[in-house]
Each structure stands twice: as structure tokens, then as C-alpha cells.
């Protein structure tokens, strides 16, 4: 009875009603193993979870309804997100929902939409992203993986890296170089490929959290139909930037900080140090800062909802949110004394994995534009400081 009706306009519901409906549904349907906020759900399990959301009408909250999404307004999207947090749902990287779908809706051909969108929704397809390369990280536009047109196909050669969950994916959307003549941004093309195309090799990389989330992906004479290009050939840079508003809002979301704060609170209880002056003063500072990030997050979301382009503020939000996330995990290890190097403490039957959070927080200031790149951009765009 708490299922979402695909024809329903959720934005017409009051906030409380919407919240209640989604909360009830989550309480009734969310499997226990999905309720571990500090963990990343992946692979088959992730697809099953999203399939369940899909079957009950709670999938693709940001997509317009005519494309099978829930068509939520930004305030409702934030409520949706909050309810996921409230239910302690593991966060999952779902590039089809957050990245490719919106891109196709905006810039794809009718055929591409018809072909891919329904299969993103029902989780038959599971997408990963192929942007970064070993020598093109922060300077992404310098990427060298090339695609040469041979008849009806592009032939892709090169290497991508940090492709999160590529080992789980059925498809990849990637940026390739189709021209070396113009300014570096101009010769880039956005193209779609199936992961089982001959010539694609995936090699997982073990990260500091001990997971093999992200991968190297090698492309050796990979033949991809030319109709898989999204947007025009040579326009890939623009295509890849086209959805950065909402995506960047969520990169600046305080949710990771909130999870880390809950863990820090639990560590305080587990070790009986919650009332220690050192713990209290750190806890107070972090609580205040979290409040500030939350205020800015809400305001930025509202501004996006009003159709504003708060690009600079999104960069600031990302800096503030990710750095708070890091500081919280740092405080957790420092305040837990000899348990710090062990990396976990027990509170009752629950184990708090401090190591996992500390390590998860490291790349937050690297991906999606490192904190330093954000500062470079802000110094010019917002403050108008010179290049000389």
C-alpha cells in the first residue's frame, strides 16, 4: 500500500505525506543487509535492491516522469535522500540513474533513450563511467584514449582508471579523443560501450579501505557502433558537464559527514569518553560545522530548484562537506586512543568500522574535482583573482 504509483505526481503531496509514505515503504521492504550506512552496496546485491525500488515505483527519483522516473522536485529529492539516511540505507554508486540517464534525457537521441533508459530503470543494464586516465586526473581534458572512425564503428584504444565498480558493470559511458587538432576540450567525444565487447579488459585496484571498487579498464581495438555517440562527435566535454548541477549538489551533500558523526557519537559511547573535555569540544566544533554545511546545502538546493546556477557555491559546498567528513573521521581515530590503529570498536553487538570511514573519507577531496582544483576555480571565478 506504500507503493508509489508510476502515474502519481509526488510533488503534489505535502512534504510530511511524502516522507511518511517513503519511510513506511522502506520500513516494510528494505532488506536488513542494505541497512549499513557506512558500507557501499555493490554488484548483484545493489542491482537487486534497485530492482526492488523500481518494482515499487521508487526508482530514479530525479528523472522526469515521462521517462519513467519519479519526477521529484528538488525539495522532494532532498526528502527522499533524507529518508534513505533515516533508514540507514547503504549508499550505492548507480551511474545509470545519476549520470547516464539524465544525460541521455537531455542530449541523447530518441533511439538511445528508448534503448537504454528502461534498462537502467529495471537494472538489466548497470553502468560505469570511463573518464580518468593514468595521466589525466585533475587535468581530465588532456585524456588520450582515442577513438578512430572506421566505417560505421569507432575503434577505441587506450586505458581508463578509477572506473568505479567497472567489474560489476554491463556497460560503460566514456570520454574518448576523436581529434587532436583543436583545443584539448574540443576533440573529446562521449560514447557508450558494452563491457563484454571484445578488447575490454577490467583490472580491479585494491584501495586503502581494502575494497576493489575501482578499476583500470583497458581498451584494445574495441569496436563500438558510431550511433553510440551521445551528442555530437567532438562535443563530449560539454556532454559530460551537462548534468553537473544536481550531481555536484550531491557531491556536496552532508550525508557522509552525518554518517561519520553518528559513528563518532557511537565511538564516544563505546569507549565511555563522551563526557571527556577533549571529546566534547571536538564534538561541539564538528556539530557546529555540520550545521553550517547543512544550511548551505539546503540553500543551494533551493537555488538550484529556482533555476539558478550556483556553480561557485557548489564548489564551496563540496570543499566544506568533504573536509568536514575527513575531519570527523580523523577526530574519531585520534580520540579513540589505542583503538585508533586497530580501526574498530564494539558498541554492544555493533562494530563500528572506523578504518573504513577514515579511508572512505580520503578520496572525497580528490574525486569530482579535487579540493585544490575547486580552490583554483573559485579564486578566479568567484574572487576574480588574476592569472598573470
Amino acid at each position: 500500500m506504500n507503493n508509489a504509483n508510476p502515474h502519481e505526481d509526488f510533488n503534489a503531496l505535502s512534504d510530511d505525506e511524502f516522507r511518511r509514505r517513503f519511510r513506511n515503504w522502506l520500513e516494510q521492504h528494505c532488506p536488513e543487509d542494505v541497512r549499513r550506512p557506512a558500507h557501499r552496496l555493490r554488484g548483484q546485491r545493489a542491482r537487486e535492491w534497485f530492482r526492488l525500488l523500481y518494482e515499487h515505483g521508487w526508482r530514479a527519483p530525479a528523472w522526469p516522469r515521462e521517462h519513467g522516473g519519479m519526477g521529484l522536485s528538488i525539495p522532494k529529492l532532498i526528502l527522499y535522500d533524507e529518508e534513505l539516511d533515516h533508514a540507514r540505507i547503504s549508499r550505492t554508486v548507480d551511474m545509470g540513474d545519476t549520470h547516464l540517464g539524465p544525460t541521455l534525457i537531455k542530449l541523447g537521441t530518441e533511439e538511445q533513450r528508448r534503448l537504454y533508459l528502461p534498462k537502467i530503470l529495471n537494472c538489466e543494464h548497470w553502468w560505469c563511467q570511463g573518464y580518468s586516465e593514468p595521466n589525466s586526473g585533475s587535468d581530465l581534458a588532456s585524456l588520450k584514449t582515442r577513438a578512430d572512425l572506421e566505417g560505421e564503428h569507432f575503434v577505441i584504444n587506450g586505458q581508463k582508471i578509477w572506473s568505479s565498480f567497472a567489474a560489476d558493470a554491463t556497460h560503460v559511458f566514456l570520454l574518448v579523443r576523436t581529434s587532436t587538432e583543436a583545443v584539448k576540450q574540443k576533440g573529446i567525444t562521449f560514447i557508450l560501450a558494452e563491457m563484454d565487447t571484445p578488447g575490454i579488459t577490467v583490472k580491479p585496484i585494491v584501495n586503502l579501505a581494502g575494497d576493489d571498487d575501482f578499476c583500470e579498464v583497458f581498451y584494445d581495438n574495441v569496436r563500438v557502433p558510431a550511433k553510440n555517440v551521445v551528442g555530437r562527435v567532438g562535443d563530449g566535454w560539454t556532454v559530460s558537464r551537462s548534468l553537473l548541477g544536481m550531481e555536484r549538489l550531491f557531491i556536496g551533500s552532508p550525508r557522509n559527514s552525518q554518517i561519520a558523526m553518528m559513528a563518532l557519537e557511537a565511538v564516544g559511547k563505546a569507549l565511555g569518553i563522551s563526557e571527556e573535555p577533549a571529546f566534547k569540544s571536538t564534538w561541539t566544533e564538528l556539530s557546529l560545522e555540520l550545521h553550517a554545511v547543512q544550511c548551505l546545502y539546503r540553500e543551494t538546493a533551493q537555488a538550484l530548484g529556482q533555476g539558478r546556477q550556483p556553480d561557485s557555491v557548489l564548489s564551496m559546498l563540496k570543499i566544506a562537506a568533504t573536509e568536514h567528513f575527513q575531519r570527523t573521521t580523523e577526530a574519531m581515530l585520534e580520540l579513540s586512543g589505542e583503538y585508533g590503529p586497530i580501526g574498530r570498536v564494539k558498541l554492544g553487538t555493533e562494530e563500528i568500522d572506523m578504518r573504513q570511514l577514515y579511508m572512505l573519507a580520503r578520496p572525497a577531496t580528490i574525486y569530482g574535482g579535487s579540493s585544490e582544483i575547486q580552490r583554483n576555480i573559485l579564486s578566479k571565478r568567484m574572487l576574480g583573482l588574476p592569472d598573470d
Partner: protein, 382 residues
């Protein structure tokens, strides 16, 4: 330089009007030279300019229209405070304007209100608030001052009375048989002694002893719960206004600094092209942006009388205080030697930030109150 508030919000009609009017006022009546001149005067400000403030209607900005004011909200008050803050206007618009005016305008003693309010709005009577017994106090209902007997006699020792020197009277908190009350004491009353303390920026606060001071029954503004509510609401608004000043000081100091970084040449380059300085400046801009957002949130929840109003307010005062002091002192460093001279304006912002950061509860005091009052919902953004 853009600020986040320009990117995120569209000022309302009234806010634009207040901004334009206030900018015009500052241009007509104020200058940086005045800031330095006022630092050595007895009261720290000019009664002449105070009269001009009254004449322009700024003292009644928040007063309901039926009482002769403009009936504006705290968002408009914040805009006015931003303009006055940026300009370092020495006149105590909050301490002797907004705050006491709110108390008199909001009290239910019609006769007293009708006697005082028009004279306050016309600038003829300047009142200051004597509420605080000791440092670190935050609750205006807490005092050891007493009102006893018939006729009433006030016994009080009030500290840190902002702009308490040169006032025509004070609004004083005291307990009458254990119940909080707020009374008006004219400066001419017998038994009052005032000691002036000069603050770093040239502002003045006062320690005032009220020794067996007779108080007329008709000078009691409010008593009991009504007094407590009136005092808390007015103090909340004064605190929000102080936050707006702090943010203005931070934003202006940052703008002056960014401007300087774009002009100063060393090693054959404008120093604003050096990445180390760019990143420091951006960090300050991030702090300013967060402080702005936190204040707008606090104003919103104050207006909505939300359950979060108290914690949002304390978060705002804590963060705005920290931000303004951080940004202004960092501005000295980013300027280099010139920033350490009294002749250059940045130092004026440093000192003004310290004054407002230490008034109406420091960052540390408000951080404590934030933790004590915030709803426990770590898991939700709302």
C-alpha cells in the same frame, strides 16, 4: 568579487529599498575619517548623526507601522546592519536603536510606551540596555539585581552595558520578589554611577551601579513571563543583527583583501596570482559563505518561531563571530606589513569584528548553547 548570497538569493523589494537608502545615508553622513575621529570621543559616537538616523527613519525600521515605524522584518534589519557594518558606522544602531526600541515598542504598558517611543524614534532620547551582571551571561532573565519596596527601589550592578555612556537612560533588568522585571531609569536618577570602558575599536561600554535608585511605578515596562519573553525576543533580534554586522565586516574585509591581492605587485607579478594566496583567500570566502547561510537560516527560523530558533541563533552567533575574527585577522597577513598599520583601513575591521564577536555571547558561549538546545537528529538534514 561575487558573494554567495548574490548567487543564492534574490533580495526582496524592501531589502533593495533598505540597501539603497542605507547606502545613501552612509554617503551623506559618514566617512572612514569619522571612524577614527569617534574612537576618542566620550560616547564613541555622534548624537548629531544619531539625530540623522532618526530623521531618516532608521530607528523605527522594525517598529510596527501603527506605532510610527516601518514595520520591516529581520531580513531587512540584516540588510541595514550589513550596510552600516561595512561602513563601520560607529553609531550604536543595535545597542541603542533596534534593541531598546523593540523592548519599548513591544511592552504592554501603553502609557510608558507612548511617553518613550516617539522620543526614541525622534532621536531625542537614547536608551541603552543594562541587563548583564557578569561576563559569559546569556539569559536576560537571570540577574541578581533587585527591585524592592514601595515606592520601588533598584539595587543593581550592571556590567558591559553597550554604548551605556552618553545615554539619556537605561532599560534595566531586575528581580521583584524573584520575578524578572524590566524598568526604565533616566540618567538623571539619583544613585547612578557610570564607569566607562573603552573597547578596542573605540566603542564604549559601561559598568553601571544603581545604588538605591528610586523607580517610579510607571517606569516598569514589563514583569514576569511577559518580561522574560519580551527580553528574550528582543535579545534574539539584537543578536541576529550583530551577526549581520559580523558577516558584513568579514565580507568587506575579504573584498578589500582580494582587491589588494589583485593590485599589489611583487616578483614582477600581482600577488593574487600566487596559488598559496589564492587558496587562502578562497578558504576565507568559504567561511563567509557558510556564515551567510547560517545567518539566513537563523533569521528564517526566528521569523517562523521554529523549535530550532534558539539553536539556529546560537549557531549563527558562534559561526559569524568566528568567521569575522578569522577573516579580518587573516586579512592582515594577506596584506603584509601595510595591514599592520593604523593608517590602513583593514585594522578597523579587525577591531570592530572583535567587538561584535565578544558582544551578546562569544562563539564559545553560543557553541555551548547550540549543543544544549539543538534537536538531536544527527541523521536528518531537515
Amino acid at each position: 568579487m561575487n558573494t554567495a548570497s548574490q548567487i543564492l538569493t534574490e533580495p526582496g523589494e524592501n531589502e533593495r529599498m533598505v540597501r539603497d537608502g542605507a547606502l545613501g545615508f552612509v554617503q551623506a553622513h559618514h566617512s572612514m575619517k569619522r571612524v577614527r575621529q569617534m574612537r576618542t570621543t566620550e560616547s564613541g559616537y555622534s548624537r548629531e548623526v544619531w539625530q540623522a538616523l532618526a530623521g531618516a527613519g532608521w530607528l523605527g525600521l522594525r517598529v510596527p507601522e501603527q506605532q510610527g515605524g516601518a514595520g520591516m522584518g529581520m531580513a531587512e534589519v540584516a540588510v541595514l546592519c550589513e550596510v552600516f557594518g561595512e561602513a563601520l558606522l560607529p553609531e550604536p544602531w543595535i545597542a541603542c536603536g533596534l534593541w531598546p526600541v523593540a523592548l519599548v515598542s513591544g511592552c504592554s504598558q501603553a502609557a510608558l510606551r507612548d511617553r518613550l517611543l516617539p522620543n526614541m524614534l525622534s532621536g531625542d532620547i537614547v536608551l541603552a540596555l543594562a541587563w548583564q551582571d557578569a561576563p559569559f551571561h546569556l539569559d536576560p532573565a537571570q540577574t541578581s539585581a533587585t527591585l524592592t519596596g514601595t515606592p520601588l527601589t533598584l539595587q543593581a550592578r550592571k556590567r558591559f552595558v553597550a554604548s551605556g555612556v552618553g545615554a539619556d537612560g537605561w532599560l534595566v533588568t531586575a528581580l521583584r520578589e524573584g520575578v524578572p522585571a524590566l524598568v526604565h531609569v533616566p540618567a538623571s536618577a539619583a544613585g547612578v554611577s557610570v564607569r566607562s570602558e573603552r573597547q578596542m575599536d573605540g566603542g564604549v561600554c559601561a559598568d553601571i551601579d544603581f545604588n538605591q535608585v528610586p523607580v517610579r511605578a510607571e517606569d516598569v515596562l514589563a514583569e514576569g513571563d511577559a518580561a522574560v519573553q519580551l527580553l528574550r525576543a528582543a535579545q534574539a533580534e539584537a543578536t541576529l543583527a550583530a551577526c549581520a554586522v559580523l558577516n558584513a565586516l568579514a565580507n568587506r574585509a575579504l573584498a578589500i583583501t582580494v582587491d589588494y591581492l589583485g593590485k599589489r605587485v611583487q616578483f614582477g607579478k600581482r600577488i593574487g596570482s600566487f596559488q598559496a594566496l589564492q587558496h587562502r583567500a578562497v578558504d576565507l570566502a568559504v567561511r563567509c559563505t557558510l556564515a551567510g547561510s547560517v545567518l539566513r537560516r537563523a533569521i528564517e527560523s526566528h521569523a517562523a518561531c521554529s523549535a530550532r530558533a534558539a539553536s539556529d541563533l546560537s549557531a549563527a552567533k558562534a559561526l559569524c563571530s568566528r568567521t569575522a575574527t578569522l577573516v579580518t585577522r587573516s586579512a592582515i597577513q594577506l596584506h603584509g606589513g601595510i595591514g599592520y598599520t593604523d593608517e590602513y583601513d583593514i585594522g578597523l575591521y579587525v577591531k570592530s569584528a572583535l567587538r561584535y564577536a565578544g558582544w551578546l555571547g562569544t562563539a564559545q558561549v553560543h557553541a555551548g548553547r547550540f549543543m544544549a538546545t539543538k534537536p538531536a537528529t544527527a541523521g536528518e538534514v531537515a
